[in-house]
């Protein structure tokens, strides 16, 4: 029987050719449009979170100077900044945005296998964002419980937004999880079922491996957040005592009995730690592809990179309690979780070495995506190494809840994934828009962001070692905090505002690209993977014209000895020109 790609089989294909403006751009079932919808929404809501962080920094640098930032508002800014950045920006942009755009194009499929469900996924995501944003406008404002939402404080009077705010937050999270599950089932099924002929799993670009593994993590980990959200809604509205212990509130005993706040922490971090890798693994995958393309070299240790991604994903489920060393859990747990945490350093280090070795003796093109990729290696190594400090129980105890932690996780899962996101947007923008961005503007954007974020987060490690606690609105009279810490806070705030404003360069560059950008051609980076080989740029509905592509080799045939060009596309049927066995060391 002749090969028929699964995506082309009649009974599998849901026909959805768009005809009208509305079906083409609004209620669209095309994965590329949905990706842009996801990405646009995520960037927009991310800008809100960026502004919130700017306001936090204003308060920290100039305490009590701004009348619109009182303690309640400050805690609301902290909470909303964290939750938006982690869930509604990073998760949505990597998986909803890049997952949607890249999976069908890189795997050689015409679309996701369930386009209708894909559309629903975006609209549910949009609803979750609207619910979250609406909490700014309800009485009491959004929740100010911190993004971890720890009970009992979260739902008790005294915490900002403990009435409507927290309910809207939990509801929004539940809707987001439904949206993610619909999208996630699509991504996984598409990768497994709709690859084109010749695209074996081990020929897939690492971007797809990262997105696939992160999606599996999300599908298994988000239920933990859903469970804790539902149970907390019950505690808040029905008076159950899942998490709520016997509490005296405002001098009165509440109805709650002996509930367990630590149970919530376990559930939250069973989601929360894999969430770190839901964000990090797509970044790992994408940066591998960016480094390989722009260094004109095959990725070093492809198979080891795949194993490392899958291994990190599996390990990420058995480390969650390293967020809880000071929670009062059984101290023996700390030993177990410190051990598993440090084991993760092994596959992660393998990846870092392989990225660096990919650059070694490469023909490096120091363009904007490459700058962001190399920037990522710096920030990730930095954030990863401070993770070794915090992973050890005895070192973590004094550093817990200080600015050291803030510095660590912003470097490792804030700045690093954002570096990759910018690199990825600049890398694929010529394919998405068909036009080339402004290189100079992009480079200025990179240097402002890269140096600026170091100016923000390096000093925070020092503040943390001094013992400056996180999440404090003002420090009051604290003898152990020297006056110079305040000067440092002013410096950090200036850097933060500078970085925040410099993101306008990115927005300007996008607008510049759309209006004045020169046509980029179909394959401006001379890359090998399928998304650069579409008949149209930007790709049209159905991606591939009449025939699906056929894949003859892996995704990393760069600078192959004896080949006419320094890259051989995956669809090039020519024999030879590939690395001979035993030749690895020479190239």
């Amino acid at each position: 029987m002749a090969f028929v790609a699964i995506a082309d089989r009649d009974h599998e294909q849901e026909h959805h050719d768009p005809h009208t403006f509305v079906s083409k751009y609004i209620w669209s079932q095309d994965h590329k449009v949905i990706a842009i919808q996801y990405g646009g929404t995520a960037v927009l809501v991310g800008l809100v979170a960026l502004v919130l962080s700017g306001m936090m920094r204003l308060q920290l640098a100039f305490p009590d100077y701004f009348s619109f930032i009182r303690p309640n508002e400050y805690y609301q800014f902290v909470t909303m900044h964290g939750m938006i950045m982690v869930i509604y920006l990073l998760t949505a942009l990597f998986l909803g945005g890049f997952g949607n755009y890249l999976i069908p194009l890189m795997c050689g499929a015409r679309d996701m296998v369930f386009p209708y469900m894909n559309m629903l996924s975006f609209w549910a995501y949009l609803v979750s964002v609207i619910i979250l944003m609406s909490s700014f406008f309800v009485p009491g404002g959004p929740t100010g419980a911190g993004w971890t939402l720890y009970p009992p404080g979260t739902i008790l009077p005294g915490t900002p937004g403990s009435d409507m705010g927290i309910l809207l937050m939990l509801l929004s999270l539940a809707v987001f999880i439904v949206a993610f599950t619909m999208g996630g089932l699509n991504y996984v099924t598409t990768v497994f079922q709709a690859r084109c002929q010749g695209m074996t799993l081990m020929r897939m670009p690492l971007s797809i491996w990262g997105i696939l593994t992160a999606t599996v993590l999300g599908l298994l980990a988000f239920p933990a957040l859903l469970v804790s959200a539902i149970m907390m809604i019950f505690d808040k509205t029905l008076g159950t005592s899942f998490f709520m212990p016997a509490v005296l509130s405002m001098g009165q005993a509440l109805d709650h009995q002996g509930g367990s706040p630590i149970l919530f922490q376990h559930l939250f971090w069973f989601f929360g730690h894999p969430e770190v890798y839901i964000v990090a693994l797509p970044a790992f995958g994408i940066v591998s592809d960016l480094l390989s393309v722009h260094a004109r070299k095959n990725i070093f240790g492809y198979r080891m990179m795949v194993w490392a991604i899958v291994g990190i994903g599996a390990l990420s489920f058995v480390v969650w309690a390293h967020h809880m060393y000071v929670s009062g859990m059984n101290p023996y747990f700390g030993f177990f979780f410190a051990t598993t945490t440090l084991i993760i350093a092994i596959p992660t280090a393998i990846k870092v070495y392989n990225w660096v070795l990919t650059l070694w003796q490469g023909n490096i093109r120091l363009n904007v995506p490459m700058l962001f990729s190399i920037g990522f290696i710096f920030t990730f190594v930095h954030g990863g190494l401070t993770g070794l400090f915090l992973g050890n129980v005895t070192v973590d105890l004094p550093l817990s809840d200080t600015y050291f932690v803030i510095g660590h996780f912003h470097m490792v899962m804030g700045v690093s994934p954002i570096m990759v996101l910018f690199g990825a947007i600049y890398h694929w923008l010529p394919k998405i828009t068909g036009k080339m961005f402004n290189e100079t503007l992009g480079k200025i954007h990179f240097w402002c962001t890269f140096l600026g974020t170091y100016a923000i987060y390096l000093p925070m490690h020092y503040l943390g070692i001094l013992g400056v606690p996180r999440r404090y609105y003002a420090y009051g009279l604290s003898d152990f905090i020297p006056a110079s810490a305040q000067s440092m806070n002013v410096g950090i705030t200036i850097a933060a505002l500078f970085v925040g404003v410099s993101q306008l360069l990115f927005i300007i560059n996008i607008i510049w690209t759309l209006t004045k950008g020169k046509p980029a051609g179909s394959n401006p980076w001379e890359a090998t993977t399928l998304e650069w080989l579409t008949p149209d740029t930007p790709p049209k509905h159905g991606n591939w014209g009449h025939n699906l592509p056929v894949v003859y080799r892996w995704a990393y045939a760069y600078s192959v000895p004896g080949a006419a060009l320094d890259y051989i596309t995956q669809t090039d049927p020519q024999k030879g020109g590939d690395i001979e066995e035993g030749d690895h060391g020479k190239h």
Binding site: H11, F114, F192, T200, M202, F270, V318, Y552
Partner: protein, 224 residues
Amino acid sequence: MSMWTLVVALVSALVVWYLLARQLMAQPWLADGEVGYTPDIEAFASPAKKVALFFLLAVISSLFALFFTAYMMRMNPAHGDDWLSIPKPDILWLNTVLLLASSMSMQWAKNLVNHQSGKSPLPALIIAGVFAISFLVGQLLAWQQLYNIGNLQISNPALGFFYLLTGVHGLHILGGLYVWARATIRVFMGITTPSINLSVELCTVYWHYLLVIWLVLFGLLLTT
């Protein structure tokens, strides 16, 4: 907690490993055998919808495993010493039989479409649906009976969990009934395409799965 979550993590890791093991050993950079070779991609020989259903069942497994874990952790005196066992309404036994009957009727419908005997699966589908709806009504009656006892405190975690877990399970049955209704209407309208057969088959898998979840849940409720 750690035991259960470890088991879930290990099982999912093993599943992923099993699915990938054969292909993960490939050396795509080599000259011989790999480059220029264009194998057909049939990762799973099943329709995409079936694959997606299995991933969905994995998600639901994770959800219920976490609920059960939270249940057992909360019972542990270390997480609160206020657990008071509650009476279990006898109607739950009847409901279990109803759900079992529903599952068996679904299997009957699946057998009918599989054997292509020419007989319509419509009666079997309708019977399965009626049993499932009766199950849900029975669950509501169980809630009613518990509520009527009167002296139970909602702050007792045993009672809270009873409503929560039966409710979440009931919602999953409702979701299944939505798909069942779509399939049944199409059968009723006389559509006989392979996609109907697939719908019936997937409904059957989902029904059996929710039965298993219910049996575990019921066992957990009875023993605590």
